[in-house]
């Protein structure tokens, strides 16, 4: 035990286990049988659109909601019956929830005071944590005198100073402007590594999730759609929702047909026909990413071994580093990204083009 009376968290198991969590508000089912295991020291992200239940889920871990069914374990301890103030779980709120009537120092010291830590110890730990988040100079300011980024760091300092077993972050970057967001998420990640703190981060922003997470759980409609590392989710989405939610995807519906005794995926109108692996026999959709397609003028010579599709440029958008074409292939519109070089003249709308695609880049999904 360390001086504040909490269990020493540095070596103990602080993983979070959710088992069979179901929760409803009135008739609305918000969480439908969630099972998740978050490892000790892991940076874990709940990713999903608004209303998917991700915020409810971390509020549940913090003790602000109670589930109708299921268990929440932190380490080996079942915590469902504990009120928020008896769980050693630190939460950073989306709004930061800094108390306006207290200075930065008082805000940060609050949790330690509640834990009856001695005054000298409080001073030392508050100084240390303010130093850690680089706010020592602003200790005597009020929250209203700080910028958004500074407020965010106070909220973080206030939470980690109590050395929680688990750190919960509810969309902590959403109130920052775009540049600051990138910087803060890096700092957050470094800090988390240094403290080896089990962290659950809630966001609807896939870029935030990809750049910070060890593992991501994609949530939709109260159900965990898939769990995995950012790249695994991107490369091998389990279903259309995940494929669409993580990055831009071309989705073509159709069915597997046999051609010369080999399996081919054929779209309903027959405009897209591609060979497909033996293992994807029941596929109903194929998915591929815009940047994996190459666009050529139709008279260009193609490298061998590539799949080819013919179409017409319908629309194009200049996005800076890339030009995104929308190409009509039969009844399908496929997005194709071409990297943009300075001074290059893009293909004009209406031009007939050929698309080439490596078959390894095609993901077959059966729902």
């Amino acid at each position: 035990m360390n001086p504040n009376g909490q269990a020493d968290t540095s070596h103990a198991n602080t993983g979070v286990t959710l088992e069979g969590i179901s929760l409803s508000f009135g008739r609305t089912q918000v969480l439908k049988g969630i099972d998740l295991k978050i490892n000790s020291g892991e940076f874990f992200v709940f990713l999903g659109p608004s209303g998917c239940g991700k915020t409810t889920l971390i509020r549940l871990i913090a003790g602000f909601e109670s589930a109708q069914a299921g268990e929440v374990r932190i380490g080996n301890q079942e915590v469902s019956h504990l009120p928020p103030w008896q769980r050693n779980v630190g939460m950073v709120f989306q709004s930061y929830a800094l108390w306006p009537h207290m200075t930065v120092r008082k805000n940060v010291a609050f949790g330690l005071e509640e834990r009856h830590v001695s005054r000298s110890e409080i001073k030392k730990r508050v100084d240390d944590v303010l130093d850690l988040v680089d706010l020592s100079d602003l200790a005597d300011r009020r929250p209203s005198q700080l910028s958004g980024g500074q407020q965010q760091r106070v909220a973080l300092a206030r939470t980690i100073v109590i050395e929680p077993q688990v750190l919960l972050l509810d969309e902590p970057l959403s109130n920052l402007d775009a540049k600051l967001r990138v910087q803060v998420r890096r700092e957050l990640r470094q800090l988390q590594r240094r403290l080896a703190l089990t962290t659950i981060f809630v966001t609807h922003d896939q870029e935030e999730a990809n750049t910070t997470a060890d593992r991501i759980a994609v949530l939709n409609d109260g159900i965990v759609q898939q769990v995995g590392s950012p790249m695994a989710l991107y490369d091998r989405p389990a279903n259309l929702f995940v494929a669409n939610f993580l990055g831009v995807a071309n989705v073509v519906a159709g069915a597997v047909v046999a051609q010369e005794s080999k399996p081919f995926f054929r779209s309903a109108d027959g405009s897209v026909v591609v060979p497909i692996g033996e293992s994807s026999a029941g596929a109903s959709h194929i998915v591929f990413r815009p940047q994996n397609i190459t666009i050529h003028l139709s008279d260009a010579k193609l490298p061998p071994g590539m799949l080819r599709l013919s179409g017409r440029v319908d629309h194009r958008e200049f996005l800076g580093s890339i030009v995104r074409y929308r190409v009509a292939v039969g009844q399908h519109f496929l997005l194709v990204d071409a990297s943009y070089q300075r001074g290059e003249s893009p293909i004009t709308e209406g031009t007939l083009v050929t698309l080439s695609l490596n078959r390894e880049q095609i993901i077959a999904l059966n729902q």
């Binding site: 779980v89 630190g90 709004s95 929830a97 306006p100 009537h101």
Partner: protein, 567 residues
């Protein structure tokens, strides 16, 4: 720049000048003169502090000063005790009683404390109903109404809603996450309330407290009717009405009343400064509410019912008194009759007609001034418009009694040749002007709020289509402001109808007196209590009905125009 503004709005500049003259003549000059006289030697007219020295050398004045402070502070304390549980229940729990609690807020607007004071004596006095029952059952007698206790009791029952409403607004402005983050860090129960909720609600609470303190400190009617004379306001009144307008003590006391009123407003502003604690985030809102457990629900209802009974006691007592025959040393009146109502309507109908006339005229003046000032402040850049606004609003801090004394002093020397050389100060129309000055802040606030809702582009499009300035104001602005103007009129009308401190100073003959004056005169004698109460009921009825009608009217109009009502 200023020049071009004047040429742009020549007519409005003239209107502004007239309003400024009106305010200078009927607000600034009388009040300044009161302060001036307080510092003037009676015989030589030189500047002196002798009057203040005399004040503190007189035991009765010293006692009155401390008594007024004591009553003000104790009222705030008692009113807070009433307010806290009610504000807490409504902001913290899913609770059906919340609607009842919130509607308590209009009661002090409908009936000022002095009207029910005598009725409270009958209910809670030494030989009142409650003590008679207590003596019968337990052999005890609780001095609810003895001396200063009575003033504190009556005032706090009447004014606590001001604290309650401000406090619950403040509580509702605290975001849920403020509490949750504290819980997350290990804080709960009473510590949570004490460390987070209470400090965040403090500014709202202080706003309510200063308002109540101000009202109580300046109140003349309640102590007079409860026969408590050793307080500041009654002393000022008694000095002027017995010794005369030349006696400086009334003026010295007036200075104290004004200074303390300003000081309490200033303290409230200081308490609020830099503390905009409204922490509600978009999409969030209010403290986290939970359902009450059955036991808690029973307790909450008990507390609410107890407070309700107390709040309605003056109204109940007044009703009993007005319909009662003889009520003395008994729990209820000996019998019931309509005689009191007949008496007041046949003997002194002028109290009713005067009230309607004075309040109507005062309300009319207020909305005309209010609309004009609001328009000048919000729609022009005329030099001095802000000052005009501040001066008009400042009347809120000047006790009615002080305005009354100031008018007597300022306008007594002017004679009205067409009224047999009657002094201007005692002409009935001066009561109207005094009432309109005193109630101008209410009307001005309502008109300003109404005009803020009217988009400038509505006016610009009218002008673009060829309407001149005054045609635009008449055809576009005023119809769109109508709801707010009416609200301002009703508030001015209703509160003017029951103003006492000022009317007591300015009414020279009973024939000129309004309702409040009539109530005071009747309640002086034991025999007059019944008819006095009947007048009180009439006053509550008039004010209540007007308020109700205007609420319905404004509501319907706002719906029709599809406008949202703002505070």
């Amino acid at each position: 720049m200023a020049n071009s503004e004047f040429t742009k709005h020549p007519a409005l500049s003239l209107v502004m000048l007239l309003i400024a003259l009106f305010l200078i003549l009927f607000l600034i000059v009388p009040v300044v003169l009161v302060v001036f006289v307080a510092f003037q030697d009676v015989t030589t007219g030189q500047f002196t502090l002798i009057n203040f020295k005399d004040f503190f050398n007189t035991a009765l004045f010293r006692e009155s000063f401390w008594n007024s402070l004591y009553v003000g502070l104790m009222t705030v304390l008692v009113a807070s005790v009433f307010s806290m549980p009610l504000a807490y229940f409504t902001s913290r729990f899913e609770f059906k009683g919340a609607v009842i609690v919130q509607s308590l807020g209009i009661i002090p607007l409908i009936m000022p404390p002095f009207v029910g004071a005598v009725a409270m004596m009958m209910l809670f006095g030494r030989n009142g109903s409650v003590n008679l029952l207590l003596e019968e059952w337990f052999g005890i007698n609780i001095p609810f109404m003895e001396g200063l206790n009575g003033v504190i009791f009556v005032e706090s029952l009447h004014y606590f809603p001001f604290i309650m409403i401000n406090l619950s607004a403040a509580l509702n402005n605290i975001d849920k996450s403020m509490e949750e983050s504290a819980q997350n860090l290990g804080c709960s129960g009473f510590r949570l309330f004490h460390r987070i909720v209470l400090p965040l609600a403090m500014p709202g609470f202080m706003a309510g407290v200063s308002l109540v303190f101000l009202k109580v400190f300046d109140d003349l009617g309640t102590p007079l009717l409860l026969n408590v004379n050793n307080m500041l306001a009654p002393q000022a009144y008694l000095r002027i009405s017995t010794i005369g307008i030349k006696d400086p003590m009334g003026f010295v006391i007036s200075v104290f009343l004004v200074v303390i009123a300003l000081a309490s407003l200033w303290l409230a502003m200081l308490a609020l400064k830099g503390k905009d604690y409204a922490t509600v985030q978009k999409g969030g809102g209010g403290l986290s509410k939970r359902r009450m457990r059955p036991f808690e629900k029973v307790m909450a209802w008990c507390i609410i019912l107890l407070i309700m009974v107390l709040v309605l006691a003056p109204h109940f007592g007044l009703t009993l008194l007005s319909f009662g025959t003889i009520w003395s040393y008994s729990i209820l009146p000996d019998g019931f009759t309509l005689h009191n109502f007949k008496a007041v309507f046949s003997e002194t109908p002028e109290y009713m007609t005067n009230t309607v006339l004075y309040s109507f005229l005062a309300g009319l003046i207020d909305v005309i001034l209010g609309t004009a000032i609001a328009y000048i402040v919000l729609r022009t850049r005329l030099v001095g418009r802000k000052v005009l606004d501040y001066v008009a609003m400042s009347a809120v801090a000047i006790p009615g009694l002080v305005i009354g004394i100031g008018y007597l002093r300022t306008f007594f020397a002017f004679r009205l040749p067409w009224l047999a050389d009657q002094p201007l100060a005692t002409w009935w129309f001066m009561i109207v002007i005094a009432l309109s000055i005193r109630r101008l802040p209410y009307a001005l606030r309502a008109c300003t709020a109404a005009l803020q809702q009217v988009s400038v582009s509505l006016e610009e499009s009218a002008e673009n289509l060829g309407a001149a300035k005054f045609a635009t104001i008449r055809k576009i602005v005023i119809p769109l402001m109508a709801g707010g103007i009416l609200a301002g009129f009703v508030t001015s009308f209703a509160t003017a109808a029951v103003e006492l401190g000022m009317t007591l100073m300015l009414v020279s003959t009973n024939a000129d007196g309004p309702l409040s004056y009539g109530i005071y005169v009747y309640m002086q004698s034991a025999a007059g209590r019944g008819p006095g109460a009947a007048l009180g009921i009439a006053a509550v009825f008039v004010v209540g009905v007007c308020t109700l009608i205007s609420h319905v009217f404004i509501d319907r109009r706002q719906k029709k125009l599809g406008m949202r009502q703002v505070g």
